[in-house]
Structures are given as structure tokens and as C-alpha cells.
Assembly symmetry: C2
Homo-oligomer: 178 residues x 2
């Protein structure tokens, strides 16, 4: 496995941004501005989608009461309680035309959001385990049935930056060159 550790001397090239993005699960008390949230959502919206159907929808959650209800839907409730902002991401099934392609587009959208928040100096984590209770989340958020929960992003100012991660070397991932 290749390890890429975050260092203070890293240049700001795009490939570095991709590598230094981490799942940040601890946040300071500092709030996240509406302007930052809008930039993150806008970045997500510029992902590609099949037929440009833009199947993503977003909710911005700051309410402590709502966060407490969402925290009960996942074993990662502590993250949800500590993050100043949550962004549930939903698939608009009304415009969906292919489950696989629309789900991929949502993944591309979320990756744009993660990279954008990292580029803004924020930290965040993509929460997927909560999907086991996606219907309950939809009801807590008071959304119609045509919206299917795809993920929740937790966002805040990073409580630390000392996390490493690893990946398979590309020699193991490229099956053949033909």
C-alpha cells in the first residue's frame, strides 16, 4: 500500500489536493459560513451527469434539534452532533433515468464537494452507514418519497490534520495495457 501523509510543505497542485483530502471526523467549535456552504454545493453541482440530468439535491442542516434526531440514525452519531453543518445529499428519482449512472453522478458530485471543502481549508467526512436508515432520515428531514438519501456530508473546521491514508499502487489496479 502507498501512504501519503499530510505535510506542511506540500505544494498546492491539484493532484496534491486529491491526495491530501482526508476524512475529517473531529471539528473545532468554529462555525462554517453560508458562503462556504454555497461554494461547496456549487462545486458539487458542476459534476457531470448522464444527459446532464443533475439528479442531486441538497439540504443544509445546522439545527441542533435536527442533528440530534439524525444522530440517532447512525452509529456515527457523535460526528453528526459535533459537526456544525451537515449536508444530506439526495437523489431526485423524478429525474433519474439509470440507477447505476445516476448513482455514479452522485458520487462525482460528492467528490467535488469534498475536494472543494478541503481547498477551502475545511474538513469533512462522507457518511454512508446512515443509509441503513435512509427512510427515517427522509422523514426527519420532511422530504417527499421521490428523494432518496445517498449520503450525508459532515463539515467543519478540522480538529486535527495529522491523518494518513493509503492506497493500492496503480500497478495492482491497472489490469492490463493493451
Amino acid at each position: 500500500m502507498q501512504t501519503y501523509r499530510i505535510g506542511p510543505d506540500m505544494d498546492d497542485g491539484f493532484i496534491d489536493l486529491i491526495k491530501r483530502r482526508r476524512s475529517i471526523r473531529e471539528y473545532t467549535q468554529e462555525d462554517v459560513s453560508d458562503a462556504a456552504v454555497d461554494t461547496i454545493v456549487e462545486a458539487g453541482s458542476w459534476a457531470p451527469s448522464g444527459l446532464n440530468n443533475q439528479p442531486w439535491r441538497f439540504v443544509v442542516v445546522r439545527s441542533k434539534e435536527i442533528r440530534e434526531k439524525l444522530a440517532r440514525c447512525t452509529r456515527y452519531g457523535k460526528i453528526i452532533l459535533n459537526a456544525p453543518v451537515l449536508i444530506p445529499i439526495l437523489l431526485n428519482k423524478a429525474v433519474s433515468y439509470d440507477r447505476t449512472k445516476d448513482t455514479q453522478a452522485i458520487g462525482a458530485c460528492i467528490q467535488n464537494m469534498l475536494l472543494a471543502l478541503c481547498s477551502l481549508g475545511l474538513g469533512g467526512v462522507w457518511l454512508g452507514e446512515i443509509l441503513k436508515n435512509k427512510e427515517e432520515v427522509r422523514i426527519v428531514l420532511d422530504l417527499p418519497e421521490e428523494l432518496e438519501l445517498m449520503a450525508v456530508l459532515a463539515i467543519g473546521h478540522p480538529g486535527h490534520r495529522n491523518q494518513s491514508s493509503d492506497r493500492e499502487p496503480i500497478g495492482n489496479l491497472i489490469l492490463k495495457r493493451i
Copy 2:
């Protein structure tokens, strides 16, 4: 709809990179180096995945004979014939644990690859329509059944850069702020 047109005076910030990425379907005769291909695949590999299961696998196709066979699998065969490099992206079902989450991870991986190739000055397009013949593609590539085709990236030096695209304004995408 918001339109974002590529201009020569654009700064190189990350949010701009996200916005100026386009689906490029026409390429010059110039080849794409192995080093560039490796950078693109490595960028893809640094996407997040559930449980860090890294379900993506890649094939690098330059062979004219293989491209001709693949071109017959899609109505976008002309793009496949003209692109100097194709990268079919596959889901390794042997490590897959959740169809939705793994499909999202593949989408995040592809978006990293598209952003990386754009940052390198290359052009590419995410081909999805070819999935209608994913079994045929798997056989052309001589891959085992546990590998499921998820997309094909066509990559080359851009034949033009004058394309615009548009997105819904975020006010239409953020359903509520609570």
C-alpha cells in the same frame, strides 16, 4: 440555468478547475504519454470508498484493433476510434460490499480522473451509453466475470476548448436550510 464559458483569463483555483472541466469528444493526433495516464489513474485511486475497499480497476487501451471492437459496442464509436487512449473502469465485484456505495465510489474515482486530466491540459469524456453492451466489452477486454464495466474514459489532447455548459442555480438544488 447558469452558464460558465471557458475563457483565457481564468485563474487556476480549484473551483475554477471544477467549472472549466468539459466533456471533450474531439482530439488532436498527438499521443498521451504513459506518465500522464499513470497520473490520471493514480488520481482516481485516491477517491474515497466505503471501508476503503478501493473497488475500482482499470484497463489502458491504445490498440487500434481493440478500439475498433469497442467502437462497435456504442453509438459513440467515433469518439472511441479518435481517442488515442481509452480507460475502461471496472467494479471489482469480489471486493464490493454495497452496490450503491461502491457505485458512488466509482463515480468519485472517475471525477478525480476527469479533473486530473483537465489539470494536465488534456481532454476527455465519460462514456456511459456503452454500458448497454457491458458484457460484450468485458469479453473484448478478456476480463473475468467478477469485473463489471462501469464506464469508459476517452482521453486525448483537446481538439477544441470552446465548449460551454450549464447548471441549475444552487437555489434550485438546496431544498431547505434547517
